[in-house]
Amino acid sequence: MSNSDVELVHSPDVFEGSFEIGKLGMWIFLAGETMVFGGLMVCYTLLMISRGGWGADGAHVAWRLGGLNTLVLFTSSLTAALAQGAARARDAAGVRRYLGATALLGLFFLVIKAFEYSSDFGEGFTPGTSLFWSFYYVMTGLHVLHLLAGVVVIFGLRWLIGPHTTDAWLERKLKYVCLYWYFVEMVWIFLFALVYLIPNVG
C-alpha cells in the first residue's frame, strides 16, 4: 500500500476503514436515476410493442446524428478515463487537460443535439405531434439536462484543481464525477438503440 492509499483510507470521507461515503452516495443517486430512465424506457418499449412499432414517426429521427453523438460520448469517456489515469500518476496538469477535453466533448454533444432539435422543430415534429415525439423529447431532453449538469460539474472540478488540492482529494472527487459521466453515457447507449435505431429498422 502506497502513502497515497494510506492517506485515502484515513480521510474523513472514508467510512470505517475502507468504504467511501462519497462513492456510496453517488451509487445511491445513480440507482434512483436508473429507475427514472428505466421507467421511461419500459413504458416507451411496451407502447412500441403494443402499437407494432412507431411507423412513419420513428423513421424521421436523425439516427446518423445520433450515431455521431454516441461516438462523441464514447470519446469523452475515453478522456475521462485518461484523466483518472493522470490522477493516479499524480499528474495534475494531465488531469486538467483531459477534464477540459471531456467537458468540451460534452458541449459538442449538446451542440449536435441542439442542431437536431432545431431541425426536428423546423420539420414540424414537436412534443405534441405524436406519442413517439413526446417520448423522444422527454427522454432525450432529460438526458440532455443530465449531460449539461455533468459538463458544469466537470468544468467546476477542473477549476478547483490548484496547488492546494491533494492527490487523494483529486482522485476521489474525479472518481465520483467520472462515475456519473459513465452512467450518463450508459443511458445514452440504450436511448440511441431504442429511440434512434429500432424505429428505423426494416
Binding site: 436508473t34 411496451l46 475515453l78 478515463a81 438503440a193 435505431l197 428505423n200
Partner: protein, 96 residues
C-alpha cells in the same frame, strides 16, 4: 474491497482498447440499420451491441468487476424494480 485493489484493477484496464471495442460495437448497431437488415436479424444485433457496450462501460470504466457486494445490490435493486414495472404494465399497455 480495499482501495489499493481498486487501483490495481483500474490500472489493468486500457482505456484506448475499451474505446476501440465500444466504437466497433457501435458500428455493428449502426450497420444493422444502414444495411437495411431484416427486422428479425437487426433487432437482436442492436440489442446485443447495446448490452455489450453497457457491460464494457460498467466493467472497465465503472470498475464494477471489483466492487463491493453493497454496490452490486445498489445496481441490482433498481434493475429488478424496472423489470417488475415492465411485468405489471404489460396487462394495461400491451394486452389492451
Amino acid at each position: 474491497m480495499s482501495i489499493s485493489m481498486e487501483q490495481t484493477d483500474s490500472a489493468a484496464t486500457d482505456p484506448l482498447k475499451t474505446w476501440g471495442l465500444l466504437v466497433a460495437l457501435l458500428l455493428f448497431g449502426v450497420l444493422a440499420v444502414a444495411l437495411g437488415l431484416p427486422r428479425g436479424l437487426a433487432l437482436p444485433v442492436i440489442f446485443a451491441a447495446a448490452i455489450a457496450e453497457a457491460c464494457i462501460i460498467g466493467r472497465s470504466y465503472m470498475r464494477l468487476r471489483s466492487e463491493d457486494v453493497l454496490i452490486y445490490l445498489l445496481v441490482l435493486f433498481p434493475a429488478v424494480l424496472v423489470v417488475a414495472l415492465a411485468f405489471v404494465l404489460v396487462p394495461d399497455i400491451v394486452e389492451h
